[in-house]
Symmetry: C2
Subunit: 468 residues, 2 copies
């Protein structure tokens, strides 16, 4: 009886408090219904898949600063017009262009075998063919400890453990230290070139490219090559057998001077507060090895399709929804910095920013870094998108995606809809990042989550402005 009484009491209290909760809601019944309708429509729509299919097929690989990236910008503007955005513009910027060129990489001792490698972004060319013994380093720490000058006439190889797989991709940071700074220590040691185990969680014969870090304002002056995990395993086994390793290497990668890149900006102008901007986007450039389907054709498709579904509503939401297709992300967030600079006097009107740049597996979580009132809004939105399998994550998680960093550093509030990333680093920066890796149903789930979330942010009466 006590149990029953307690249950009855709870129900009673709950019923009593319901009108109060309803009053406090930041989301109206109609807004909620519209969001639910957007999700239902998105799950049945193939618009997102059509966009990423078009980008990867009609444009193909699109390295930051390349002629292909320019074609991609024109494609983006045309797409924006076709889809009925109110404004579609390109904001150009200049940048230094790094080109991969050719690579020959062959193990020459203990026997001849082609190695599957790829230059890292920013690497210098070999002036001529390098034929040299390999010095094996078990991990980046061993290379950091190398004495100056002792690698003269040698090629350094940094092994390390394959990247840890997880839904958050947390293994990436620790693993890519060798990619970022390895060259500085190889150069200090006097090495003719550096090879590293790829930063990737797969066991396929694909190298993972990616940008190195500058040392102050200096780029590497030697070739730096990532080799596939199976190739690195192979060198490790040979090294453990005490076989003398040597390599023949010829790389044409080099800097090619200043070129023009740009960001594509597509706007749905707000009906009540057009000056306030809810910014979403992805990056338009890709690495040149694959066709950039997962990284980041998916992000372009998800955010553009979500905005298009909102554009199809009978009226525009109150705030402006802006889709930015950032240029030259892979080669150093150059579009992101250009955007933040171009709009520096108007960032206070950017009331929310988020980027989709982590593939197209199902979204499983929403995190935020917004003002306290807006945090409650995110809690409510999380309940609305929960039927998609999405949970509420932290409310003080900084960063809305790589291209949002420069804005977020200047105080722009952010959220992030986190994709399941367990296999993201299998494909990341490899030739294998192609359209077939995208699951249309999962892509549609992403668009459903984005459409509902962004619509609610754009239409809410909650004050979204940063209060810090």
């Amino acid at each position: 009886m006590k149990l029953l009484n307690s249950a009855v009491l709870s129900t009673f209290l709950c019923v009593l408090s319901m009108p109060l909760i309803a009053d406090q809601s930041a989301i109206t019944k109609q807004q909620k219904e519209t969001a639910q309708q957007l999700m239902a429509t998105a799950l049945k729509s193939d618009i997102g898949y059509n966009i990423v299919e078009s980008l990867t097929t009609e444009i193909g690989p699109r390295l930051g600063g390349s002629e292909a990236e320019k074609r991609a910008r024109d494609w983006g503007v045309e797409l924006g017009k076709e889809l009925g955005f109110d404004k579609a513009t390109i904001e150009e910027f200049t940048m230094p262009f790094w080109d991969r060129g050719h690579l020959h990489l062959t193990l020459t001792s203990p026997y001849k075998q082609e190695l599957y490698g790829s230059a890292l972004g920013g690497a210098a060319p070999s002036k001529k063919e390098i034929n040299a013994p390999i010095v094996y380093f078990r991990d980046i720490q061993e290379l950091i400890e190398v004495k100056d000058g002792v690698l003269k006439g040698k090629v350094a190889f940094v092994d390390g453990e394959p990247m840890v797989k997880s839904q958050t991709g947390a293994g990436y940071g620790p693993s890519n230290q060798k990619r970022r700074i390895g060259w500085q220590h190889a150069e200090r040691g006097g090495a003719s070139a550096l090879m590293i185990r790829s930063v990737g969680s797969d066991s396929h014969r694909f190298p993972h490219t990616g940008m190195m870090s500058k040392n102050g304002d200096k780029w590497a002056t030697i070739p730096v090559i990532a080799i596939s995990n199976p190739d690195a395993d192979h060198l490790r086994r040979l090294h453990n057998l005490d076989r003398p390793l040597s390599v023949s290497l010829h790389s044409g990668s080099d800097w090619k001077g200043e070129v023009t890149s740009g960001n594509v900006v597509l706007d749905l102008i707000g009906s009540e507060k057009p000056e306030e901007i809810v910014l979403i986007g992805g990056h338009l450039d890709s690495w040149d090895l694959g066709t950039g389907a997962v990284d980041d054709g998916a992000g372009i498709a998800i955010t553009t399709a979500a905005a298009k579904l909102i554009a199809n509503l009978p009226q525009r939401p109150k705030r402006t929804i802006r889709v930015v297709m950032f240029g030259a992300e892979e080669v150093g967030l150059l579009g992101a910095f250009a955007y933040a600079k171009e709009h520096e006097n108007n960032l206070h009107n950017h009331v929310l920013a988020t980027e989709s740049d982590f593939g197209a597996r199902n979204i499983w979580r929403i995190v935020s870094n917004v003002n306290p009132e807006a945090t409650k809004l995110v809690d409510e939105i999380a309940r609305i998108i929960a039927p998609l399998g999405i949970v509420r994550g932290g409310s003080d998680v900084k960063g809305g995606g790589p291209d949002i960093i420069p804005m977020a550093e200047k105080g722009v509030p952010t959220i992030r809809l986190s994709q399941e990333g367990t296999d993201y680093f299998d494909l990341h920066h490899t030739p294998d990042d192609t359209l077939d890796k995208i699951n249309p149903a999962e892509l549609a789930q992403n668009i459903a989550a984005y459409a509902a979330t962004i619509y609610l942010f754009a239409d809410t009466d909650v004050d979204l402005k940063a209060k810090r």
Copy 2:
């Protein structure tokens, strides 16, 4: 009650008949126990994995007729001696050598993009760089129907559906018709070169190489290139959009004259009927793109390790167990034909032959093509190895593996222990066929099945000789 009576009766009849079955058994209690002991030992042993690790690491890729294949033969003889085989010899033969050389393959219209391709075995070089429009054929049948001479100045591309995946690999035959004979029709049409969708069931950016068929005694006189499934998907999408396709192609693959290859023959001499031979094996050569772990380092490891476990028994089985490491399988079963010719006067003493050349996933089935008395023996063996998850398949299934074909055609009885092959054609003939693809536990299951089966064949009193 009727049910119960019936059950009791069954049990009674069963008990009555048991001594009779025991008498009829071709396998003694001790032989059965030895076989079970071999299985238990195999499942705990890492000898097989050590063998395939050594072959793929210390020798690497080993194209038929190459210097690497010679190193592999020396490795095989040394391994045989180390493991205590009674005899370890090389039977040499000569063969024409085909070398892959370099390949540049770039889509040049509608835009520039590298294609991931690889020459097919037997392909001719391009005398100079070919720059030509691509003519798209939806499947091999469309190319077969092409009119003479209409492809002059063009490169033909044969698409087709990706290979059907299955545990038996049944999709391979239909899919590889384009690889086998496509060149004949492309040449007849006057094409400068032929590209085909890879014969493979994966969706990774790896081309699948493989040998073409001769037309009478003629090889192709044009370059023939397999491209990866994602690249073929890409061309298909562009073709469906009516984009004009063209390609730049330069291939160095060519025939390089006569060289020496050979088969490695390792014997455990039988204790009672040494002249009767139970032959097992795999092929020692591999394609040059990967390190030939799955195809067929696994087969070498499985059969050598199984024989080694039998060699560890207190005494040799009655018949001779012969492990043959066939040379030059990939390039036309050259070792297989050489073996059958070398031993043509003694094939009547080859009382059983089988090869492991279908990867290293779990064995799920045993099939046979042996005399009626021996068929009953296989039924009994199937019951003994059933705890490994193996079922009895057909008793009139011809072929004991590719290298057994020439022997089987001359009447040598065969069995086959079928590996689960669903992902075999994901890796087959690609750069991705590397050691990490082998699961040590599944490899050990293979060795357990081989050791028990081969021991029982070698030691049985059943007459195994062909009776046809």
